[in-house]
Every structure is written in C-alpha cells, then in structure tokens.
Amino acid sequence: MDLNTVRQVRSPSSADEVADWPAGHAWLSGGTWLMSEPQPGIDTLVDLNGLNWPALMASDAGLEIAATATIGALADFSAPSDWTAAPLLRACAHALLMSFKVADVATVGGNICMSLPAGAMVSLTVALEATYVLWPRAGAPRTVAAKDFVTGNHANVLAPGELLRAIHVPAASFKRRFALRRASLTKLGRSAALLIGTSGPNGDLLLTITASTPRPVQLRFAVMPDADALQAALAGAIPADGWFDDVNGTPAYKRHLTVHFAEEIRAELAAGRRDA
C-alpha cells in the first residue's frame, strides 16, 4: 500500500553513509512487510538495494546469506551434494504463507528481522545454528547466535537503526540429517507449529521449535533421547503459558502439535540412525 507519510527515500551505496538514525527512518529491504501495513510513523525509507551485497556465497566454511538475499533465491540455491540438510532451505521457504511472487522479493533478512513466531527464515537459521552479523549505526559489527536473536513475538535484539548484514550457516550444520514437521490451520497456511530436528554422525539431537512459541526454543541432546526424556525436556523448556496465542492456532493446539511433532522427529531421526 502507499506509505503516504514517507517523504524521502535514501539510497546509500554503503551502509556507512547512514550514520544517523532519526525516528521515522526504516530500512527498506524487500519491502513486502513494510508495504503491507500502514506505517504512519515512517517518513524515510533507506533502500538497501544499492548496497549490492552478493546474495549467497557458499564455501567450505558454509553458506553466507546476505540479509538482502531473496527468500526465492535461497529456496532455489543448489547446494553441494554432501549438504544433506540443504533441502531445509526450500522446505522453510515453502513453510511461509507468502506466495512465490512475494518470496521473489521478500528477503531472508527481512523475514528474520520481522521476528514473527512463524517466520520460517528464523526457524531455518536457528535450526542450522547460524550466526547473524549485525551492523550497528555506531561501533563495530557484532555477531549473535540465531537462537538468541528473536526475543519475542515481533521483537528482537536489534538496536534502533542496527542492520542485519548477513547470516552465516556453518557447513557442519548442512551435513547433518534432518526432519521437519509443520502444521497450519489452513492448507499451505501460516504455521501453527514448525519443528526442525537435526542429528549429526554422533547421534545427537538438536530440536528447534518455532511458530508454536513466541520465540524459538531449542533443545539439545548429546545423545538421542527416548520419548519420555524428550517430553520431559519439552515440559521443562516451555512453561504451560509459554505457547503463542494468535489466530493461527490456540495455545493448547500449538502445544499439542509440538508434543506430537517433537516425538515424530525424534523417532524419525532415531530410526534413521539405526538404519545407517
């Protein structure tokens, strides 16, 4: 929609050109959320397109995803063949409510900075143990673990004007086995629960719970737990009132799905290990 309060668009060619950050400034990445709701408080858009950050850079170290990489590009990334967890890229892109047309424009960084419970780029990068590079308006860049970035529904650790520059996914994360479960109230709708489990050669389990909780919850088990241990850990990690309440599913339902999917993921990864 028209953002009629916007008076100017700044188009820096380097982030350093934006030293000040007055109230009313907003970074414009894909713009697909920004333009989707009234933003009466915004008078200046600062366009990230001119920064020309290379979207996706794969190396032996892993994958560096520019915050401005589109979700569509990430979904279409062709990964090295030993990156067994790479199908998660597309699966998480598809877990989003947005159509392919929006995913072609919406960016990975935008989705992460929105920090919605059902933000599947958060789910993806937390599950893959990514780190985020943040550029404050003043001072040195900092890194933060993906799992620590989102602090609540639509809330995160970014300071005003601070920019998410890139997401580093370590290669080791891509070399794990994975299982994903998701449900929504409507077909291909917004996630009510999105759980991703990964397991390495040593048979551990890393379980990432998103959408059903206001912020990601991650459970780490050095060895594959049994069903009871998993449920006990879940109960310990998420209090009874810790489930997200919105129109995409009641808290009770989200809890129910999470309990069910966690066990399905555990069973699938445990079985895969035995098969291996």
Binding site: D2, R7, T32, S36, S99, T186, L188, Q231, V247, H256
Partner: protein
C-alpha cells in the same frame, strides 16, 4: 530515468512511499486491481522485467528503468495472450476482479508450477469461482459454446464482458480516468473509526486536522442531517429499523465511523484522520446476545421500541410461531434429540471493497458511481437523507467486483454525497480491506437450539428451534434474516408440529448484514446437523431419514406460521438431488483416504430455497429494436459476478429468436434503466429475468404487429427470425423494419414490469466425503458433490460456476473463516492473511449435478441459481465429520485447533 509501462514510456515521478500499483493506475493502467493492498490477494499482480510481483508491495521507485507489464499490455495487438484466451474460453471468472492478477500469475508459471497449482496460486484469491474454472483455464479446458440464433437459452455462452475482463479494460467502480472532466478536482474521503465498542462522543477537535495541508473539510455528527435510517436496502424500508445516523454522537461498535476527512489526496485525508482529537465517554459494552437480553445489560438504542411497539431493551425483534402442537409431538416421539448448534461471524470478502464516487454536474445533478447491489434503493435513501429531488440524483454501477449480500447496504454513498453537496467537488471514498472487517457488515452469528422428535421409523413428530441472532450494533437485515432462519430450513420437512422462536439482539459488535444464504444458512446448519444426530440415535441412514421426512410436491410449504404463503412448487427436484448425490458419493470417485492416522466419513445435507424474499420485490425491463436490427435491453438489476447480465441477454435472445450477441444490455443505472429493487435474495433470475422475458415477449409482439400492419396482413402470419420478420411469402429485415417504423415516427419498443409472487422453490443437496487427521485435526475434503434443482439451466456453465462458488464459500464458512473479536470488541483478524477465505489449495473440485426440472413460475423454466447452494455445505461437512469420528462438532468453524482435542488422537498413542 523513466518508467516503461506496457511498452509506453512514462516520465512521471512516483511519490516516495507510493506503491507500484497506485503509480500504475495513475498512469492509466487501471486493469491493475486493488483487492487487499497488503500482498494477500494477488489482484495487483504485474510483471517486473517479466517476473510476477504483487505491485501493492513494490515501492514504485524500484520499477524505474525496468519493464512493467500489466494485464493491459499482455495481449499483442488484437490477439489475446493464450492465457487470456484460455480464461475467456473456460470463463474462469465471475465478477472478474481477480482475473487480471490471476492471468498475470498464470501466464508466468513454469511447467512445475502449473503442475502444483495449490502452491503456485497461493497468492491469488478468488471469492467467486471456487477455482475449478481457473484450473480448467490453466489446463486449457474450453467450455464456452457457440451463440446460435434461437438457441441462446440453455447454451453455455460467455459473459458479454469477457474480453474486457481478461484484458483489464473492464471498468470497475474505482477505475476512473483522472483526466475525466467530470472528476476535475476530485477529493478523497477517509473516515476515523471508533476505537471503542460503546462510547459517547463528548468533543471532536478538528483544528489540527484542518490545519494539515490538503485537508479541505472535516465532517462530524454535527454536520449531518438528523435523520435516522437503515443502511440495509429493501423495497420495504419498514422491515429494517431506522437506527442509524450518517454520523452519530454515540459509537456502538469498534469501527463505527466517527468523522470524515476530505482532502486533496488520500495521504492528507489519512493524516487528517490521525490529527482528529476526540474525547469519548466510554460506555459499558455487551458483546454476547444472551448477555444483552439481561435486564441490566447496557442498552445500545435506548429508544428502541422495535418495529411492533413496546420497550424491548436490546431485542430488536422477537419472532414466534407454532403449527400443530410440539408438546403432543414430543409426547408421541420414540426418540427426542436436543442440542445447541452455533455459527460464526464471517465477512463477505468480495474482492472489490465498498466504494463510491460522487460529483455534481453543470446542471447541479448529483451523480453517484458506486459498488452496490441496489442502486435504486440507494437512490431513494440518498434522496430521503439529503432532501434531493429524485430527478436530481443519478446512481449507477460500473462493473461490481463481487457482492454476496455485502453490497445490499448503503455504506459508502452517503458520506460521498454529503461531501459533494457541501463542497461542490467530486468526492471518492474507497474502503480499505481492514475497513471491510471493521466497518462493513458480516453474516449474523446465530446460536440455535434444536429439539426434534421422531417415531422409531424416523418419522418426525415435532420440530422446535430457538434462535438467538446477534445483529450487532445496528439492526439492518436483523429481522429479515431472523425470519429466513425460521423459514425454509423448517419448511424443508413435513412434520405435524413445528415451533420456532427467535430473537435478533443488538450488541456492540459489527452489524450483521445480508449474506448469501441469508439467515437460512445458519438454521440449515443446525437442523441438518440435528437430523443426522437424530438418525444416528435411531440407527437410520441419513439419506433415508431425509427421504422419509422431506417435503414433497403434494405437501403444503409451511414453516411455523399457519397463514397461507405465496411460495409454491413451480417444480420439484429434491428427490432427484438426493439420488444424484447418493449415487455419486457411492461411486467411489474422488480422492482416496490418505495414508496415516486419518478417519474417514461421509455426510449429506439438504437445503430448500424460496426463490426471492418475502418482502416486495420488483423489476422492470425496457427493450428497443435498433436501426441495425439488433436490440437494446435495459434492466435495473446489478451484475456483480452473479451472471445476471449473461442470463438476461440469453432470456431476451431466446424469446426473440436471435443470438445473445444481438442484445446490447445496460443495467443498474437509475437514469438509463427501469426501476429494480436490487439484486439480492435470489431475484436476479426470478424477478429481473422475468421482467426481461415479459419485455422481450412484448417487443416481439410489437414487431410482428407492426410488420402485419405495414403489409396489411395478420400478425399470426409473421414470425420473428434472427434478423428479420418472415411470413410465408415475405421477409423484411429487422433493420428495414426499424427504418420503416422510424420513418413513421414509430419506435419499436416495449417496457414491462415483473413482481415477485408467487415465489418458486429450489433445492440443493451437498454430499461430502472427508478425512480428518486424528492428531493434527486437519480436514481433507476427498469428494465434494452437489446436486441442485434450479429448474431449467439458462446457461449451464454459469449455473455450475455459481454453485461451485457457493460451495467454496460454504467450505470457507465451515472450515477456515471466523471473525475474531477480543474482549474489548476489537476485530483481531482484519486482514485476508489472518481471516482466511478459501484459496486454491483449500478448495476441492466439486462435482456439480442438476436435477432435470422445468419450473412453471420462473422465466423460461429457470429458478434462482446463485445463492442457495451455500446452505447445505457446512452441515454436510459437519455430518461427515461426525460420521468419521463419532463426535458431533456443533460450532462453526471446524478449524483444527477447535476440534483436535475431541478426535481421540494422541491419548491412544504412546508418547
């Protein structure tokens, strides 16, 4: 740098925060539509360098130096793009508002995407079609037939505006050319809406708003005529309470309009609204209609004395009736079933929002271009409110992008006219999508207690219902929907004793309004669910119990009132419908049960529809033979995707023995068409269609009589052919005849009126086979079957499309849609991404079957087509769910989170 739009170079510079959609429309690409303005509906889809994007989400400046292609630039010259051609040949649209975005999306899909349409089309919503025809278009399935003279009735002819719709050149309400001299100086109106569910306005300070550059005027309750009215449109204005002011000093729901700001730009009008300072005295609010009936409940309309006199508190209307004695009937029953069922508040979500444009011409006449189902009633209401002499007001529609009852309401016209009268300048107001959820209307939420008794063989002995209808803050349609709720769903069954009582109750929520199915949907859900529950107790098959009790042609059509009614069997095909659905469900077609922990079940429900409202309804037609031998037809009814224009042309062509193409039609225009009450309550065919038939017959007679007079022969010697009159020995072309008549100063023309009485009766049966996942609660419709008795099919393709659309809407009501209010009365999900209407992925293909009947009341044997199918859908789903799980879910909608804990899923599973 410049912009390239459909090959044109545009030098304009967009505003900094402007989205591409607005920029494109300002540059003349009006085919690009605004459905949600938020990225959810896809109506605004265009290509940017060949890739489809939602132009409402794209900052306009990002299109600089790139190629923009809109639906208007897709065809090369006069040759339609193959996807445009495919949409035309499959008639993959009804109102057509979604078509531009749908076509631009489909035309960009690759093979993989075409093979996965549920995913590929998840960003494109269509509220009308149910998507089957869209899938057919994608797969190149053509459905239209040839337009053959004399064979128009019964042919699947295309919508006469098809070419305009698929090329983006069809003009909807808001598609105006900024350079139009009539609209010079166009102002934009925005309203401030109440943040409180119940509050008295103590003070509105407009100074800051008026100080904003571009703001021209602010209107508050002090500026409006002190005349109470109802926004609901009916021929008989007394059926709706006069409880509304254009702007009131009391807000009765969150979202009620408080003040209107008129400005040179939309941005200034929005800023003006934000700058208004309003002091409210918060009043206690009540949201539940049962609470609202309590003696100490806060009163919404303290002066409410109802339509029949007497202080009624918050009860707008109470209706009661009994035929026979239910007490005796229950005493005679072997089994009695009693249960409470409830339905949810839902929104029409027509893809084109409400909106109007008003202006004054050089002679002082006011013109209102608006998105309405009832231009003539709107005309009268505006005359009344503003004291305008009827001749000085002109109300008309362009193409209307969907209605479904939501536009049987005057919601945007009044403020535009007010502002135009005060300011003398053209004024436009277009609802945003959130405003549809906040400040339009909704389907009445109803809670229905059903009590049914039957003998051991399943013969009903007594049927009793109690309905509580939440009419919200204003009572428009509250009485008529309540009457409908107590009407046809009970009349559907033969039973010696029936009793009903209903209350329509004011509460502090968004008002109820007309909505496809109109009250009968709600009680159909309850009674059809209850009948299955009763059948289960008796161990009787759901089809069998319906056959045992359903109304038959020798029965009296009667609900709970003993007085004679004007409803009559023009035809009867309910038995056929049940047989068709039963056989199709038994055929084993449809999808197989998915692998995993799913429970499968089937369900059926029926619905009876009186074709037309019990209130007065009338329509007129005018026809003229034109100089080129073709015909002009004017009819007042509205086309909003219901297909009436297509059907009316076919009716006229059939009577006149010509091709539909030879009938040029105009409609829904108080200057250019005869009076029509409005296109709602299934009247497009049975009233307006009848007016067309009568008019065409009169014109045919007139033409033959004139030919006879000219030739000194008898009219019986002549017959009307496609483009001539013929006798055994002579032939005069229609063009020649017209010329001869004109030379004598004689016009070959006719005008007729049609009234709605008697009303015929139509039937619908929905069958559903579904699977429900015992753990996640996901419901998959495996087979959807619908049989309709709508008389003769004037246009089979269109009839099928209307039913598919109604079934999809019914599935939305059953499975996904629900307006959620918080404890303060705020709507929580006022956006299409949070209020989920069925998308392609949610909508199964429905097998549509027709009973073979020919109606003796409706025009050319036809009955109403567009409305009725919805009523049987939700109860069929509910019954299938009960059949699958053994659990009765009695409250809509069946979203997984509302049903999962009663499916017996996890408990039985080791964890």
């Amino acid at each position: 740098m410049t912009y390239s739009i459909d090959g044109r170079t545009v030098a304009a510079e967009p505003c900094p925060g402007q989205c591409l959609r607005t920029f494109l429309r300002e540059s003349g690409a009006l085919g690009v539509k605004k459905g949600c303005d938020a990225g959810d509906c896809g109506a605004c889809t265009v290509w940017l360098d060949g890739r489809p994007v939602h132009s409402c989400l794209m900052p306009a400046f990002r299109a600089k130096g790139r190629q923009v292609t809109t639906v208007q630039g897709l065809a090369s010259g006069n040759d339609l793009h193959p996807v445009q051609q495919a949409f035309l040949e499959a008639q993959a649209f009804q109102c057509g508002f979604c078509a531009a975005g749908m076509i631009m999306t489909v035309a960009a899909l690759d093979e993989d995407q075409r093979a996965d349409l549920p995913r590929a089309l998840k960003g494109n919503l269509c509220r009308c079609t149910g998507y089957r025809s869209i899938a057919d278009a994608v797969h190149g399935v053509a459905a239209i037939e040839q337009d053959v003279a004399g064979a128009a009735c019964g042919a699947s002819l295309p919508n006469p505006f098809s070419a305009g719709i698929v090329t983006g050149h069809a003009r909807y309400t808001m598609d105006v050319d900024a350079a139009d001299p009539a609209l010079r100086g166009l102002l934009h109106l925005k309203v401030l809406r109440s943040p409180h569910a119940h509050a008295r306005i103590l003070r509105i300070d407009t100074a800051k708003a008026l100080a904003i550059p571009g703001v021209v005027a602010v209107f508050t309750h002090e500026d409006v005529p002190k005349k109470l009215f109802s926004t609901a449109t009916h021929e008989d204005h007394l059926v709706d309470p006069d409880d509304t002011l254009i702007l009131d000093d009391v807000a009765r729901f969150v979202g009620q309009r408080i003040a209107a700001v008129v400005a040179e730009t939309e941005g200034a009008a929005e800023a003006g609204c934000r700058a208004l300072e309003v002091d409210y005295e918060i009043l206690p609010a009540v949201f539940d209609p049962v609470d609202a009936m309590a003696p100490d409940a806060p009163l919404l309309h303290p002066g409410n004395d109802g339509l029949a006199g007497g202080a009624r508190g918050n009860v707008f209307l109470c209706l009661k009736g009994e035929v026979g004695s239910v007490a005796e009937g229950f005493a005679a029953a072997a089994v009695v079933h009693e249960e409470t069922y409830s339905t949810s508040r839902v929104q029409h979500a027509h893809l084109e929002t409400h909106g109007s444009i008003a202006w004054r011409d050089g002679e002082g006449r006011i013109h209102v271009r608006t998105s309405t189902q009832a231009p003539f009633i709107t005309h009268r209401k505006l005359c009344y409110l503003f004291g305008i002499f009827p001749h000085d007001l002109h109300v008309f529609t362009e193409r209307v992008g969907g209605g479904f009852g939501g536009k049987q309401e005057m919601l945007s016209e009044d403020l535009c006219v007010l502002a135009t009268l005060k300011l003398g300048r053209p004024v436009k107001w277009e609802f945003t999508r959130p405003e549809e959820f906040l400040g339009a209307t909704s389907r009445h939420q109803m809670t229905t207690r059903v009590k049914m008794g039957a003998t051991a063989d399943g013969t009903l002995t007594a049927l009793e219902v109690h309905v509580v209808s939440n009419t919200g803050a204003y009572g428009g349609h509250g009485g008529e929907t309540l009457a409908a709720a107590l009407g046809s769903p009970l009349a559907a069954y033969r039973c010696p004793a029936k009793k009903a009582e209903g209350h329509a109750v004011y509460t502090n929520v968004i008002p109820g309004g007309g909505f496809r199915g109109y009250g009968a949907s709600q009680t159909s859900f309850a009674i059809e669910s209850a009948l299955d529950d009763l059948a289960a107790k008796l161990g009787i098959d759901p089809f069998a119990i319906r056959r045992r009790n359903m109304i038959r042609p020798d029965d009296v059509i009667q609900s709970v009132w003993a007085e004679p009614s004007d409803v009559a069997f023009g035809s009867y095909g309910l038995d056929q419908c049940l047989d068709l659905v039963e056989a199709e469900l038994a055929s084993g077609k449809g999808e197989r049960t998915p692998e995993g922990d799913w429970a499968e079940g089937t369900g059926v429900a029926l619905a009876v529809l009186e074709a037309g409202p019990p209130t007065e309804h009338r329509s007129g037609g005018e026809m003229r033979l034109l100089a080129d031998g073709t015909y002009h037809l004017a009819v007042g009814s509205t086309e909003m995707g219901n297909g009436s224009v297509t059907a009316h042309r076919q009716i006229a062509a059939a009577v006149l023995g010509t091709r539909a193409e030879a009938i040029a039609i105009i409609n829904a225009d108080t200057d250019r068409a005869p009076y029509d009450t409005g296109t709602f309550a299934s009247t497009g065919t049975v009233v307006a269609g009848q007016a067309v038939e009568l008019t065409a017959r009169a014109l045919a007679a007139e033409i033959l009589a004139y030919a006879a007079r000219r030739t000194n022969t008898a009219p019986e010697d002549w017959r009307l052919a496609a483009d001539a009159v013929e006798s055994a020995t002579q032939r005069i072309s229609l063009a020649e005849l017209c010329r001869l008549a004109a030379a004598e100063g004689h016009g070959l023309e006719a005008k007729r009126k049609a009234y709605l009485s008697p009303r015929t009766i139509g039937f619908n049966v929905q069958g559903v086979r579904l699977a429900v996942h015992r753990v996640t609660g996901e419901i998959r419709i495996l087979h959807s079957v619908h049989a309709a008795d709508i008389g003769r099919l004037i246009n089979p393709l269109q009839c099928r499309g209307q039913i598919e659309g109604a079934v999809a809407m019914g599935l939305g009501w059953a499975l996904t849609e629900h307006m959620v209010h918080d404890a303060q009365g705020n709507v929580v999900n006022a956006a299409l991404r949070n209020y989920h209407i069925p998308a392609f992925a949610d909508t199964p293909r429905t097998t549509v079957l027709f009973a073979d009947t020919h109606d003796t009341i409706g025009p050319l044997g036809a009955k109403a087509q567009g409305e009725c199918a919805i009523n049987a859908v939700a109860p069929a789903v509910a019954n299938a769910l009960a059949n699958a799980t053994g659990v009765r879910f009695a409250h809509l909608p069946f979203t997984p989170d509302r049903i999962f804990d009663r499916l017996g899923g996890l408990e039985s599973r080791p964890l």
